[in-house]
Amino acid sequence: METAKGKVFKYGDNVDTDVIIPARYLNVSSGEELAKYCMIDIDENFANEVKAGDIIVANKNFGCGSSREHAPLAIKCAGVSCVIASTFARIFYRNAINIGLPILECNEAAEDIKAGDIVSVDFNTGVITNETTGKTYTAEPFPEFMQKIMAAGGLVKYTSEKING
């Protein structure tokens, strides 16, 4: 995926993995099933309202807490094309890269962008455009190694390409 465009769902600081996907739903591991309950403990309407391509924007430490990969998986399978935050908790950060959920760190964008704005993202340049206000922001580009993982569609594909040539 080189670009994304969608409507913004906006959240604050320290959105934890327990509200992204509560443990009571972790007795299954299918992304489609998990997506039905995505964000339920912080925004019970999210799963019904989110459309393919939509974007989550949040402030600092998004995805803190548990290592459950079910959290980025639920977000990805809910159709979210990208998560933009001031900072990400480290396990969520690597899980998102490993499963191929695009994420971007950009404090200015995270602070400015509001719920309901239409935002587009160019992953090659890191440029985030708020189509609603016309304002643009540039996110820190990922190290080349992580870009390769994401380009391959996640760590499993990246590794199996390396293992199997």
Partner: protein
Amino acid sequence: MAMTMTQKILAAHAGLDSVKAGQLIQAKLDIVMGNDITTAVALKEFKKTGAKEVFDKDKVVIVLDHFTPNKDIKAAEQCKACRTFAWDMGVKNFFDVGQMGIEHALLPEQGIVVPGQVIIGADSHTCTYGALGAFSTGIGSTDMAIGMATGEAWFKVPSAIKFVLTGKPAKWISGKDIILHIIGMIGVDGALYRSMEFVGDGIQYLSMDDRFAMANMAIEAGAKNGIFPVDEKTLQYAKEHSTKEPVIYEADADAEYDEVYTIDLSTLRPTVSFPHLPENTKTIDEAGHVEIDQVVIGSCTNGRLEDMKIAADILRGKQVNKKVRTIVIPATQQIYLDCIKLGYAEDIVKAGAVLSTPTCGPCLGGHMGILAAGERCVSTTNRNFVGRMGHVDSEVYLASPAVAAASAIAGYIADPEKIAGGNN
């Protein structure tokens, strides 16, 4: 180039003379671990890699501890898939109900983890083993899958914050109070992406169980890992529990740290994290009158023998408040047996508390102690997020086993000194 303790361990496992903060490395793994929730996802990803077997049958560890004994049919199906995978792969360190304990109490106890190792675990509290002077960090299921297939993982070398611990803590101050105090000070992202390296002469007063509780909650400050230097207590612990040879790494004297904090342990008071973040700390003196409905004493943070002893010492000969459901969970089968042998089991049950088989259950709102709307729980666990132990309108107050046991008797958040006496 001078390195922190963490950087030295990572350099050695990456086959490099030195590493620096921010560098991306590929490191060899000594242990790859997962539980019933995360392994259920990892085994699917493992199959997608095309790997036919795990990289080392001795170095993969699978512990069915979260939704066990199986809480419902779906959890039973997940555990079954994990069990079949473990058997098919010939995983030697596979722990099912009967041998199982809460993973982060079990692995050190069984001698699977020792000083100097690099360990990844598909559970965020894998940072616990830093207490032993190992580099140990939580990762997700995909990293676990790749770790099982290749024996390696990618890491971004972290910078570090140094915590200099001085002085001797007072009677009821445990590792839990110290780490809650630190998280209250630096916040839930205060150590984001970084190592927390604990040093100083105060460490000599901390038992291994104190250190496990502290390293365990490094993740609650956002840290990649928490780590303690290896001293006589560490080596004694490793010798008693493992036949593996410990490897000792020390930070260079001139290693660079992003920040340095000095904490006089003698000044700390029992500390409680109020809802809904571990950083919302208050001392017991500031807590006010908070009535409670439930107490949980257990988990990978505080389910070890010393925690059980503190609970039993406070509960012995007393009764828990009739309005407070008190659930005590020894973290492993060995700790459970020790509780019976040492009389703690009787103290706990006679006081009107329940003593459960090992499980992570209530900590993450799985089973064995779910909260209804409006209910409050004092818990020795590690997270008090919205809905963590049940209904989104329930509340979790994180505290030490001493505060939890005292609160169970009082019916409100209580100072152990007032319930059980103080002074050394």
